[in-house]
């Protein structure tokens, strides 16, 4: 293990020693840190054991789904006022776009009276289990930097992802599975690429493991063609013996550590396919999630996420691609494209919440859903002209995310935007606040969790202290 990691872990331990009064006894446990993924004591009592973060890459249109703006409907087709355009940077909007009211109907649902559009009938039935935040606000308006900002705390490359921080701080419960699993759907990796689940300066053992839902769930998991499980076991036994012979002379503890990884790999060859095999689930479950066996889909991934956290995985990151509804063609507009996509997502994600709840897992699983920014109240006019299809451009100033489980309040509608959904008017929340809150629910102090690198104690929430744990959202 390198000096940095040793020092950082030692610093964390020393923190507990001085802060928790456990004293010298804990020093004896120090050597257990030879396995960096072994479960670690959190900073304070956690509410969530696991996180499932559902990122809708491209960014779903909050004005079509959650943020009901009847005034905007009234202004539909009117030119956008100058003060909303001056000094602003847009990805694609040029000149003076027209306002775009939503074509969809909204209703209030549940005891909480949450406004949800007709596009999400399933979600409407669980509004009393979730906290909806309509006042998210970011400062990034391009996909890759915005996604990087949400997931690594910095819009540039080179910073560790949320899941890496979580496993760095807490290890994972099930040593036979990766601690941080990534699932993707929608046909593409998210725009920020693999750095979104990377470990950057943290040791690479904490990086997300991309599990695929067809073929080998983890790359190189299957034995090569021609090698049976029995033969594989024999090779591992031989490795164990041969390595032990070497170790006797060489004396390097790394040899034993490496052999441990080989044995873990062997166990993962059973445990990972088991967990990733949804075919064993009853028909009713498949129907609820809308799974598509043999394909990659959000429904499959949601079901997998439940199985993963059920089996002790610390952090599950789901990326679903294809929410960038600019309206340049039938493939990315808010009618032809959005409708089928939200239909699948609405069903899958609601099924996940209900399934977790029914299994008694929701309280200890923090589920987060959202994109990297919002979409404009104006209709996008690509290149200055209105096309045949309807969509919205990127909008950082106001968007919606929701969270459930893991100690989040039930049936809460948090934050407000102005009458056209342009700016946040009440209870603004930033991605930094989101990061702080997630870490907090896991039992980690976001201001303390750090790794020394380049002279700075690097943190997910960045070097400033602006990130807030959003106490108003918590039970």
């Amino acid at each position: 293990m390198n000096e940095k990691l040793r020092t950082a872990l030692a610093a964390t331990r020393r923190h507990f020693l001085t802060g928790c009064g456990i004293g010298l006894a804990n020093m004896f446990l120090a050597h257990a840190q030879d396995n960096p993924l072994a479960p670690k004591k959190p900073h304070h009592a956690p509410k969530a054991k696991s996180v499932i973060f559902l990122h809708m890459a491209g960014s779903p249109s909050q004005l079509e789904l959650f943020d009901y703006k009847p005034e905007l409907v009234k202004y539909n087709g009117k030119p956008c006022p100058d003060e909303l355009l001056k000094g602003k940077r847009f990805a694609f909007i040029k000149g003076v776009p027209k306002m775009l009211g939503t074509p969809y109907k909204f209703k209030q649902h549940g005891q909480s009276g949450a406004w949800v559009s007709e596009l999400m009938p399933h979600f409407s039935s669980i509004v009393d289990d979730v906290t909806i935040v309509r006042s998210m606000c970011t400062d990034q308006f391009n996909h890759a930097p915005a996604q990087l900002f949400v997931h690594t705390g910095n819009p540039r490359f080179g910073f560790a992802s949320m899941g890496a921080w979580a496993t760095y701080g807490l290890g994972t419960e099930n040593q036979d599975l990766p601690g941080f699993v990534v699932l993707t759907s929608g046909g593409n990796n998210p725009d920020g690429g693999k750095s979104l689940w990377g470990s950057a300066f943290l040791p690479s053992v904490f990086q997300g493991v991309h599990c695929r839902s067809h073929g080998d769930p983890v790359l190189f998991l299957s034995d090569p063609e021609g090698v049976t499980r029995g033969v594989r076991r024999k090779t591992l036994d031989a490795l164990k013996d041969l390595n032990a012979m070497q170790a006797k002379n060489a004396g390097d503890p790394e040899t034993e550590a490496r052999m441990g990884q080989y044995e873990l790999a062997y166990r993962m060859q059973i445990s990972v396919p088991n967990v990733m095999d949804i075919s064993k689930e009853p028909e009713s479950v498949h129907k609820a999630y809308g799974t598509e066996p043999g394909k990659t889909s959000l429904g499959n991934n949601c079901l997998l996420a439940r199985r993963l956290v059920e089996n002790g995985v610390r952090f599950v990151q789901i990326y679903d691609w294809g929410w960038d509804h600019h309206g340049t063609s039938k493939r990315d507009d808010i009618q032809y494209a959005l409708q089928p996509h939200i239909k699948t997502a609405d069903q899958a994600v609601t099924a996940l919440i209900k399934d977790l709840k029914q299994r008694g897992l929701l309280d200890q699983t923090l589920v987060v859903w959202g994109g990297e920014f919002g979409r404009t109240p104006m209709r996008e006019n690509r290149g200055g002209t209105e096309g045949a299809f309807i969509g919205r451009d990127h909008h950082p100033y106001a968007y919606t995310m929701w969270m459930a489980g893991g100690g989040m309040k039930k049936g809460l509608n948090y934050g407000e935007t102005d009458e056209i959904g342009y700016y946040v008017t009440r209870d603004k929340m930033s991605p930094r606040d989101l990061q702080a809150t997630i870490l907090h629910q896991l039992g980690l102090d976001p201001h303390q969790l750090h790794y020394p690198y380049l002279g700075l104690n690097q943190r997910l929430i960045g070097p400033t202290d602006e990130a807030r744990v959003m106490k108003d959202l918590l039970v």
Binding site: L5, H15, F92, D191, K194, V231, L264, A388
Partner: protein, 861 residues
């Protein structure tokens, strides 16, 4: 008994005289300087503790009298001690401060900002041994010849050595002569180029969202040649940073400027080009600071450095040197230097004087709030620009190489040391600043740095280190020594550490006799699992290279930033998005899975087994060890291998199919070599499909459906408003939807990996025998090869198969629409030759796979 050591160390520390650099500076740095340091903006209570004047003028420190020093009163305050946040000072630290203040509170300059001092002794070994002796230690015994042969080869050329040179050395030849042969090998440059390319953040794509291909491999080749030709480091520096500004640069010289063109270009729709050009310049400043001087200048893009001597303004003054190049985050990556009809590379080109940019400080690093204009310049705390140095990148390069620069030589020497010893004399290679880790052997570092600075001769430096006794020590360690010095900081034993990703792979290929000696040229694509490249927008495919390009050295592998080659990622290779000064070695199960199960490794195992059995039929196990570990197995090792072989052979006797697969693993692997066209498309001689444009009855995609009433015609289907010669429409289609069916006959042994090359600008869905097999909504150029999904693959059967396609137009077509389908697949493996399957021979493949996974194999010791 660790706690005894801990207490002992504490008492020891108490007894020592505090050394400012070792004891006081780091503690001030960690616990005080963020608020009481060089950064004026964040300074609290007007107090700075990083200078003697700052600390003493407010009586915070009274030299000689700790009891009256307010600093101590504050840190020991009962209820509100300093610092107010973060970890408090420990008893030990307070004791050190007290002693130091009482001793006069001497502030010494940070070691790395003082000129290197030439020690009295000029031998690495004498210096190291002196320290060991002072700790009652001595050198470990010298490693034996096979160990040294392997270690030196893997360290210097990254592959096992040529057999002639190896044999000569093993038979008793001169070690120095062996080293000279390694240094002269053309493979030397390939190994050390990779080290440099980590720093250069080299990749074959632009980065960010689209991550499109970029041609910059000539730069990579330039680096390889530079190392092989032993280009002195000063020239190496000047050419990369500023060849275009030197007098009369050759084309070759200009290629070198690709170093800083490795920065990323953002072509995501809606991004601001100037914003990302600015980011690239900031990256160039930060990277230059790290690579040449081990300074963390990047921190100062937002604020004055909290610890090291670089103000916010000075960051932008250095930026000013780099701010005048013509590249501007353009999708074309201009300026591009065309080399031949097929090769081009990216270069730096200075803007003419009248077009040069103004450089401004960005307030808090925010691109949207530019502030004061600054002129290019170097930081005041360092030496000045050499006289006559031009105020541009060339002058700045001269500044980096100036004899007054206390850092450049040390940082390079330290890096070379680190690659040979597993860790630098300064472990924090990326930070020689005040927050970094001080050198374990400052005298060795300075000695090598001073000599390196004389002639900047890299091979000479490497040879000097490698022929030292310090390097040649055995890496075996006793439990006592391990406990005393777990990380081998004292150098009382030789270095032992896991190999770099590239070496793990190259070694496997080389020992199998598979590694191609071919050098240079465009990047290649060795075998990679399907579906790793899920690219956004540009539909690039990973197309496995043919022939020997499959077995090139790892550094030639196509590097895509957003989707790097998985087996190398698993072994800690970087992605090329930012400068990687050193790789942190980890130990994960994914590495085990890779070297055990990655088919590319298994192929090496198969060929290695073949080679061993051929070259040593009576004792293949011995040959396996010799090829991989350069030594024969010991008796117990040989016995254990024999047992494995017998057990495996036993199992395989009842698995003829597996025997076949193992013996022909290469053939099994490269399904792409067995691709046949099952339904040709319009590019060759297209077949007729049954088609209709009116909505057919339900179940039209089912095998049993009667399509006799449909029309028949070949691709291209569609229409163009203006006739298109390259895309001749054979069957007209100008409605919203098109339905196609094709009856395909397959033999008993089914092909695998069905793919459909399809040309389309519409969305489409495919069914195989009624099973949904492929859905696509994206438009891609040309005939793109779409993979049939898992269910579809399984739906094919011997005899008649019905392929059904529904095509649906997107919106209104202005130019027309086109659709043309085909089908390809990998044909099954030819049946094995008749005769009893050779379980014994196949078992050696398994044994070879095992040997490639020994701890000793993936380690250099």
């Amino acid at each position: 008994m660790r706690w005894l050591l801990w207490i002992g160390a504490t008492l020891f520390a108490f007894a020592q005289e505090p050394d400012f650099q070792r004891d006081i500076r780091p503690l001030l740095g960690k616990k005080c300087l963020a608020c009481h340091g060089p950064d004026e903006q964040s300074r609290q209570a007007g107090l700075r503790l990083d200078t003697f004047d700052g600390a003493t003028k407010t009586k915070s420190i009274i030299p000689g009298d700790s009891s009256k020093s307010r600093l101590l009163a504050r840190v020991t305050h009962a209820t509100r001690p300093m610092p107010p946040t973060g970890p408090r000072l420990t008893e030990t630290e307070i004791g050190l401060l007290r002693k130091w203040i009482d001793g006069g509170a001497a502030y010494t300059n940070h070691w790395a900002y003082e000129k290197p001092k030439r020690p009295a002794e000029t031998s690495i070994d004498v210096l190291v041994l002196a320290r060991l002796k002072s700790r009652s230690l001595t050198f470990s015994k010298e490693a034996d010849r096979p160990t040294l042969a392997r270690r030196a080869a893997l360290d210097l050329i990254g592959v096992p050595p040529e057999s002639a040179a190896l044999t000569a050395y093993l038979k008793g030849g001169d070690f120095e002569k062996y080293i000279d042969q390694l240094l002269a090998s053309p493979q030397f440059g390939e190994r050390w180029a990779k080290v440099w390319l980590d720093l250069a953040r080299y990749a074959d794509t632009q980065g960010y969202e689209k991550d499109s291909k970029r041609s910059i491999w000539p730069y990579r080749d330039w680096v390889i040649r530079a190392y092989n030709d032993n280009l002195p480091f000063d020239k190496f520096t000047t050419l990369q940073l500023a060849a275009d500004l030197t007098a009369d640069p050759s084309i070759d010289d200009l290629i070198a400027t690709g170093f800083h063109r490795n920065t990323m270009t953002n072509t995501e729709g809606g991004t601001d080009d100037e914003e990302f050009r600015d980011l690239a310049i900031r990256d160039r400043v930060a990277t230059t600071g790290q690579v040449w001087m081990g300074q963390t200048w990047g921190c100062a893009q937002c604020h004055t450095h909290k610890y090291d001597p670089l103000t916010h303004k000075e960051f932008y003054q250095i930026y000013g040197f780099f701010n005048q190049t013509a590249d501007d985050d353009h999708p074309s990556d201009r300026p591009v230097l065309k080399l031949t009809s097929t090769a081009s590379t990216l270069v730096l080109k200075e803007l003419p004087e009248d077009k040069q940019r103004k450089t401004r400080i960005y307030d808090r690093g925010n691109y949207l709030t530019p502030g004061e204009e600054v002129k290019a310049g170097v930081p005041a705390a360092f030496h000045p620009l050499p006289p006559k140095a031009p105020k541009n990148r060339l002058g700045f390069a001269q500044w980096l190489l100036s004899p007054d620069n206390t850092l450049t030589a040390r940082v390079q020497v330290n890096r070379f040391w680190s690659r040979l010893f597993g860790s630098g004399l300064v472990e924090s290679e990326e930070d020689f600043g005040t927050q970094g880790i001080p050198p374990t052997y400052p005298e060795v570092l300075d000695l090598l740095a001073i000599d390196f600075q004389k002639d900047w001769d890299v091979k000479k430096l490497l040879k000097r280190i490698v022929i030292s006794d310090t390097y040649k020590q055995s890496s075996d360690v006793t439990p006592e020594l391990l406990k005393l010095d777990p990380a081998n900081k004292l150098l009382a034993r030789g270095p032992r550490f896991r190999l770099d990703a590239e070496v793990v792979r190259d070694q496997a290929l080389a020992s199998a006799g598979l590694l191609s000696k071919k050098q240079f040229g465009p990047p290649v694509m060795p075998w990679q699992p399907d579906g790793v490249w899920l690219v956004v927008y540009n539909g690039d495919n990973w197309v496995t290279s043919k022939g020997e390009d499959r077995y090139r050295r790892a550094l030639y592998t196509f590097m895509r930033r957003t989707s790097a080659y998985p087996s190398m990622m698993n072994f800690d290779a970087p992605t090329g998005e930012t400068c990687t000064i050193r790789r942190i070695r980890t130990n994960t199960p994914l590495q085990a899975l890779t070297s055990l199960n990655d088919p590319a490794f298994m192929e090496a195992a198969q060929r290695l087994a073949e080679r061993a059995v051929k070259e040593s039929p009576l004792d293949p196990a011995r040959r396996l060890f010799e090829l991989v570990l350069l030594r024969p197995p010991t008796r117990p090792e040989a016995a254990r291998l024999a047992l494995l072989q017998r057990q495996t052979e036993q199992d395989l006797r009842s698995q003829p199919d597996n025997v076949n697969k193992l013996l022909r693993y290469s053939e099994v692997l490269y399904a792409e070599d067995r691709v046949a066209t099952l339904i040709p498309d319009a590019r060759t001689s297209p077949k007729e499909w049954r088609f209709t444009t009116s909505e057919p009855a339900d179940g039209w995609m089912q095998p049993g459906f009667d399509d006799s009433q449909w029309g028949a015609g070949p691709g291209y289907f569609g229409f163009f408003t203006k006739p298109n010669e390259t895309t001749p429409i054979k069957t007209g289609w100008n409605t919203e939807t098109l339905f196609l069916r094709y009856a395909l006959e397959l033999g008993d042994k089914l092909p695998t990996k069905f793919k459909m090359p399809i040309r389309t600008n519409s969305q489409f869905d495919v069914w195989v025998n009624g099973v949904s097999a492929l859905n696509n909504i994206y438009e891609r150029s040309g005939h793109y090869e779409y993979a049939i999904n898992e269910n579809g693959q399984k739906a094919f059967r011997p005899g008649k198969n019905i392929i059904a396609i529904r095509v649906a137009r997107y919106g209104t077509s202005t130019n027309g629409q086109v659709f043309d389908p085909g089908l390809v697949a990998s044909m099954p493996l030819a049946p094995p030759k008749p005769g009893r399957p050779d379980a014994a021979r196949a078992s050696w493949v398994v044994v070879a796979n095992t040997v490639l996974n020994l701890d000793e194999t993936v380690t250099r010791r």
